[in-house]
Amino acid sequence: MELFLQTAIAGLLLGGVYALISIGLSLIFGVVRIINFAHGELVMLGMFATYWLWRGFGLDPYLSILIVAPLMFGVGVLIQRTVLQPILSSSAIMKIFATVGLSLVLQNLALYLWGGNYRSVRVAYSTATIKIGGAAVSVPRLVAFAVALVLVAMLFVVLKRTMLGSALRAVAEDRDTAALLGLGVSSLYLVTFGIGAALAGIAGALLMPFTSATPTIGVGYTLIAFVVVVLGGMGNTLGALLGGLLIGVVETLAGTYIDPQLPHVVVFGLFIVVLLIRPRGLFGLGRGTEEVGLR
């Protein structure tokens, strides 16, 4: 029983970070209508930024979020402006390949600049644990989970309660009408991608105390983020949160109870099953299927 509790909690904590990563992706898809294959690389860049700040200035990873977040926001805006804006009117397929190309560029740029080694930060609390209900819970993972939840809640509030949020939802709903109504669609795209990138970067910073960074680590996160977003229902923030938590738990439980080598196989298996049975997402929160690219 202790094993189950420990595993489930560990999975939930991991899921919080997955949710954070996926929400950025979901937002970008919802508003800009682009599937960002390079999303995991944005997480990777956040991880490396955190590493270098720690290595160069001894900055604590959590504090470095104050720098990493705006930095990644800027990176996101830059990407949207230079790579994606010019091809917004291309076919969906071309857009996929643009972000695939972007993913290649970012991965290999990181490889070129920093080499392929794993980098980790070592802070005093790296291995600290606290007891929750008899299970040992890793402090850095708990912090990551808490911060992720706070950010998700904040995003929720922004989307529902602010002018910016309304504007974003309007563009997501119907781009052309929004433009007709005078909303600066291009600027909103920039902001959206910036926010998505910032969230990914923050996730990277949160991950650093207990994960090692390497240029190719992004691909795994991209795949997971997509599974989460599809499972949770496309374009839906709450769905992404629930989906993230679910995948975190499933992955960790699978690693413990089925086989340590197969957690991703199980996750993708679940993905396929859901696609076959409930393509709109497990929680029925997603958008209409045509928009989502499902039959």
Binding site: L3, Q6, T7, A10, L14, G115, G116, N117, Y118, S120, R122, S126, T127, A128, T129, A136, S138, L207, F210, T211, S212, T214, T216, I217, G220, T252, G255, T256, P260, Q261, P263
Partner: protein
């Protein structure tokens, strides 16, 4: 997209393909105007060196290459081999495809008769296949997969110890020191193998299982995991439930640290923890865990805290390394490749610079160097599979952030200590 009548496609294709092939041939010809001068004649004596200098294996691939480079430099300072200067033609082999390609290039384009390499077992297999099938000689200086010298190729040699000696050393150490220290019979010891699931980890785990039974050990449990996983708590919890006396780990850099950290987080107490080189030999392991790393045993190529009287030439190697690279060696791979390269040069000295496989075989088989006479403390004696049988890994233990040799006695600088790691 614009459309033309489809009949254009076929002609278009043929024309383009023909143009492409011809054009490319021209480019290729221009790019490779002359074939390499090979290694004959009176010029420098050229040998090929295939190592992953880029890609995910770059750190230790480059470290391995440095050993060869230093050996070459020092030998040239003493006049080279057979009166000729040595020259290494280095090729970067980040993956199996490249290993095959580059080996082919060195053999056919550069006309080299002898190649050395390669750090990684799968790269070594690919490169040596090319060399062997073309009738050229290949010396492996650092990769450990048993397969490398098990394929029956007469022109493939290996100077470093293979995987099965690692596991032999581990099991001997457990039988001869750990069991008495824990006051248990070998057959009563519970042993778990936590290993990453690539070629490295799987082959070691498999060999351990095979060797353990005849040596009188009881149950061995295998716990495989993916080195790329970012969460090993499942493994740790599994090990907790197994409650092993001895855990033998086979890990790369990141997972070695991660496993240690999560063991500490989850309060996993292991009386004796033995690494199998890889991540457990790296400075980054101690960096990542601090005092929690102390007590971890490790079986690997010769490390630098070793009896100097048993490893003549080690000091010269270290001096040259520090001078050239302004740092300490990052692992024992450079030393192992240094020793192996020297063996190759010694052989070439006796063949008077000839890379004819039969000449090399004649000289190599006759070599008889006792242990404790080379920079790694290994001897040289090739068996009928061209494997050096006098190369054995030593057991070291992390102590105060350093890897100290504790076993065998001739090489040890410290007595082994019974200390459960990952507790501090």
């Amino acid at each position: 997209m614009k459309e033309r009548p489809t009949s254009m496609d076929r002609r278009g294709f043929l024309r383009l393909a023909g143009l492409g092939a011809t054009g490319l041939a021209v480019i290729d010809l221009a790019a490779c105007t002359q074939d390499g001068s090979g290694d004959g004649g009176g010029g420098p004596l050229r040998i090929g060196a295939l190592y992953p200098i880029s890609g995910s294996l770059a750190l230790l691939g480059e470290e391995s290459w440095r050993g060869v480079e230093i050996a070459l430099e020092l030998r040239n300072q003493k006049g080279g081999v057979a009166g000729r200067k040595l020259e290494a033609v280095r090729a970067d082999i980040p993956d199996v495809n490249a290993a095959s390609s580059e080996a082919r290039r060195l053999v056919t384009q550069e006309n080299l008769g002898l190649l050395v390499g390669a750090y990684s077992s799968s790269l070594s297999l690919a490169a040596s296949e090319v060399a062997a099938r073309s009738g050229k000689t290949y010396f492996e200086l650092g990769a450990i997969a048993d397969d490398i010298t098990n394929r029956g190729y007469q022109s493939v040699w290996r100077t470093n110890p293979p995987a099965k000696t690692f596991t032999e050393a581990q099991l001997e150490f457990v039988r001869d020191w750990v069991a008495p220290a824990l006051k248990k019979e070998p057959a009563a010891l519970k042993i778990a193998i936590a290993h990453e699931d690539s070629a490295y980890g799987s082959s070691v785990a498999r060999t351990l299982e095979e060797q353990a039974k005849p040596m009188g050990f009881g149950t061995i449990v295998k716990v495989p995991y993916s080195a790329k996983a970012n969460d090993l708590s499942a493994i740790v919890l599994n090990l907790k439930s197994i409650a092993a006396d001895v855990v033998i780990a086979v890990s790369y850099a990141q997972d070695a640290v991660l496993l240690g950290r999560q063991a500490k987080e989850n309060g996993l107490r292991i009386p004796v923890f033995i690494g199998t080189g890889g991540g457990h030999s790296l400075a980054s392991f101690a960096e990542g865990l601090g005092p929690a790393a102390d007590g971890v045993f490790n079986v690997d190529f010769t490390q630098f805290e070793v009896q100097r009287s048993f490893a003549p030439g080690l000091e010269d190697f270290l001096a040259e390394y520090r001078k050239r690279y302004s740092s300490e060696p990052r692992s024992g791979h450079s030393l192992a490749n240094f020793m192996g390269a020297n063996v190759v040069f010694d052989i070439l000295e006796q063949t008077k610079g000839s890379t004819d496989p039969k000449e090399i075989a004649r000289v190599a088989k006759a070599l008889d160097v006792p242990e404790g006479k080379t920079a790694t403390g290994w001897g040289v004696r090739f068996d009928d599979k061209n494997q050096n049988t006098r190369a054995k890994p030593f057991v070291t233990q992390w102590s105060g952030g350093k890897l100290k040799t504790v076993w065998p006695k001739e090489a040890a600088v410290m007595e082994p200590v019974l200390k459960a790691p990952f507790q501090a």
